[in-house]
């Protein structure tokens, strides 16, 4: 069995825009998606997620580079000959067919006989929790139900890879959360590789085994949710996923994976880093708001005095904006552990903030 379900090697896609210029939708993307993996492509609108997915499905051909599915080069292979199925964002159910006919369409095209087709359609509809809906028409069903039908229509063919383009985008929040869990359950049940496109970071973090973060047609970082969140490799990733503070500075010393960075106002920040840094190099130190505290604790290497500028209460947490020396601002998040949720400080109060060097990361951009 090949190790990778899908491999993109240095794939680029350029479109001629109507204005005559060229749009670089995807730039030199290389990805290795493992067999049975729930893989997400995450990024803001227009970053090339859909184009990447459409190239895997065969609706678009790469301008440069190669795509392999289970080690087979796809080349010019037509969509209907690829061992993948797609769940479209607008579901794309055939309006003139019943749900049963929709779900059975792929099997019909493969020449599966009618009796077997009906059995498999029934099983697929049961799997997406729509048993007995065969005779309905798509327009008689709600958005969430249509979504499930689209899923059943793809999964019934046992594709080697299932491609999903923002499949939950049109659903309301509650339904979306439900479907996220449902999708994850289905994926575990059928063991098919899922490639899931979304611009919703929470969705990607919840469901994925691994995530590729994209921006401007490029893949910036690939890794499991934990790694993407805890060890972002650039400002964009740190900023797009969750919330981050950025402090600009200059490397002063590097010692055993700990970098000392001089910030504005003469503050020194200690941060863990595996990067090959040189003294005098301009870098950014990033730290997540929830890893900064207003309460003193043992062994915090980064301790700065500051003044509270602003407080925002958001239920579980309270956010403090703290002004440091050198006109630098940090967002600090403290959980409201106090039974009365009393804030730890008021605007204008002088405070001291604390964070660990392991909570701080050095970024090169």
């Amino acid at each position: 069995m090949p190790e990778f379900a899908v491999e993109l090697r240095d794939v680029s896609k350029r479109f001629p825009a109507p204005s005559g210029e060229i749009v670089n939708a995807v730039r030199n993307v290389s990805l290795q998606i493992r067999d049975g993996e729930f893989f997400s492509m995450l990024g803001p609108s227009g970053c090339g997620k859909t184009t990447s997915l459409r190239m895997i499905a065969g609706f678009e051909l790469p301008t440069e580079g190669d795509i392999f599915i289970h080690d087979k080069p796809m080349g010019q292979t037509a969509p209907y000959q690829r061992p993948v199925n797609t769940v479209f964002q607008n579901y794309a159910l055939f309006p003139h067919m019943t749900i049963g006919e929709n779900v059975g369409f792929g099997l019909e095209m493969k020449g599966v006989d009618k009796a077997q087709r009906l059995t498999r359609v029934r099983q697929a509809l049961e799997m997406v929790r729509l048993p007995g809906y065969e005779a309905r028409r798509p327009r008689q069903m709600s958005g969430g139900q249509q979504q499930r039908v689209a899923l059943a229509r793809a999964l019934v063919n046992h594709p080697e890879v299932l491609l999903l383009d923002e499949p939950l985008g049109a659903l309301d929040l509650k339904l979306r959360k439900e479907m996220q869990l449902e999708l994850k359950r289905l994926q575990r049940e059928v063991g098919i590789t899922f490639i899931y496109v979304t611009h919703d970071q929470e969705e990607a973090l919840t469901m994925s085994d691994r995530i590729a973060v994209m921006s401007g047609g490029r893949v910036l970082q690939v890794g499991p949710a934990f790694e993407i969140y805890e060890r972002p490799n650039c400002r964009f990733v740190a900023d797009f996923i969750g919330e981050s503070n950025f402090l600009e500075g200059t490397v002063r010393e590097v010692q055993q994976r700990t970098a000392t960075v001089e910030l504005a106002g003469g503050l020194l920040a200690y941060a863990e880093s595996d990067l090959a840094l040189t003294n005098g190099q301009a870098v950014t130190v990033t730290v997540r708001p929830e890893k900064i505290g207003l309460r003193p604790y043992e062994g915090a290497q980064n301790v700065y005095p500051g003044r509270v500028e602003d407080i925002v209460y958001i239920g579980t947490d309270t956010h403090y904006t703290v002004l440091l020396a050198g006109d630098q601002r940090l967002r600090v998040r403290e959980q409201n552990e106090d039974p009365y949720s009393r804030p730890l400080a008021s605007p204008g109060d002088a405070v001291t903030i604390y964070f660990d060097r392991a909570a701080a990361r050095v970024l090169l951009d």
Binding site: A57, G58, F59, A78, P79, Y80, Q81, V84, N85, T86, F88, N90, A92, L93, F94, P95, H96, F105, G106, M109, K110, P138, R139, R153, A154, N157
Partner: protein
């Protein structure tokens, strides 16, 4: 109570609002129709007026039952009309579909131009456009001249083809006249189909042919049905095309009716023929829409 009042007021308002339409339809459709029905049971007076009686004689004559036995003359005319309408509609569908498909799949900025080009001929008078076909089809017409020229190039002897007047010329004229009325509804259906449906079909393993048969064609059906109704009914009743391009050879119900009213001055017989034409058209249309529906249930939500 208040709600009841409001409901009844709304009903009155509704009636008032549709009243003009209702009046117009009564005056222009219902009353003339009733007059035609009454007239059709009458007979012709020697000086060409209608004698109002109640006799089925006109109808019997039309279906061939006369005092002297069976006379197939009018049955043949009716049959010829239906058959011509069926041929015309079928060929118009065959020609219109690829054209409509081409326009619907063309880049958006070209579509309006193409639609415009399809409609341009309609700016010219119907009759003039038919006369143009005489110029093309007659013995020394454009087509024969071209063929003769081509034959002389390769050194073949050439006899001008007798294309006009003929039943074939009538068919060509009908197809030409009614083509736009098929292209437009089919275009409308095709244009509404979301591209993602074609992609979904391809994704599920359908090649181009199967995608066409299972997705494109069924979704274009409402347009084909609408176009068929728009073409079939007028072709059944038109007399100008057959008059001009058929010479005296091709007599359709339309010609029959026209001649009864204008030449033979037998309004009663003409009325009966009109009623038969209407009934025939209605029967074919009802049969057809029963089979295919008006297509409304498959129009995309």
């Amino acid at each position: 109570m208040l709600q009841r009042l409001r409901a009844s007021r709304d009903r009155w308002l509704g009636l008032v609002l549709i009243a003009p339409t209702l009046l117009l339809l009564t005056a222009l459709l219902l009353v003339p129709l009733i007059l035609v029905v009454i007239t059709s049971f009458g007979s012709r007076s020697p000086d060409g007026n209608v004698i109002y009686t109640f006799s089925f004689e006109n109808y019997l004559r039309l279906v061939g039952i006369t005092a002297e036995g069976f006379d197939p003359l009018y049955v043949e005319i009716l049959w010829r009309s239906v058959w011509l309408a069926v041929q015309t509609t079928t060929l118009v569908i065959v020609i219109a579909f690829p054209l409509a498909y081409f326009v619907a799949r063309a880049p958006a900025r070209w579509r309006n131009l193409f639609l415009f080009l399809i409609l341009v001929p309609l700016w010219t008078n119907f009759v003039i456009r038919i006369y143009a076909w005489i110029m093309i089809l007659r013995n020394q017409g454009v087509l024969n001249s071209l063929l003769g020229w081509a034959a002389s190039l390769v050194g073949l002897p050439f006899q001008p083809l007798d294309l006009y007047p003929s039943a074939g010329a009538v068919l060509v004229g009908m197809i030409y006249e009614f083509l736009p009325f098929m292209i437009l509804p089919i275009y409308t259906s095709l244009e509404k189909i979301d591209d993602s449906l074609f992609e979904a079909a391809a994704d599920l393993g359908a090649n181009a042919v199967r995608t066409f048969l299972r997705v494109t064609l069924p979704l274009a059906l409402p347009g084909i049905v609408a176009g068929t109704i728009l073409v079939f009914i007028p072709v059944m009743g038109t007399f100008i095309v057959s008059d001009i391009l058929g010479g005296r050879q091709v007599i359709l119900v339309g010609n029959l009716i026209q001649r009864q009213f204008l030449d033979a001055r037998d309004a009663a017989f003409g009325s009966a023929a009109s009623i038969i034409l209407m009934a025939l058209t209605l029967v074919v249309t009802v049969f057809y829409t029963r089979r295919f529906g008006f297509g409304e249930e498959i129009v995309k939500a």
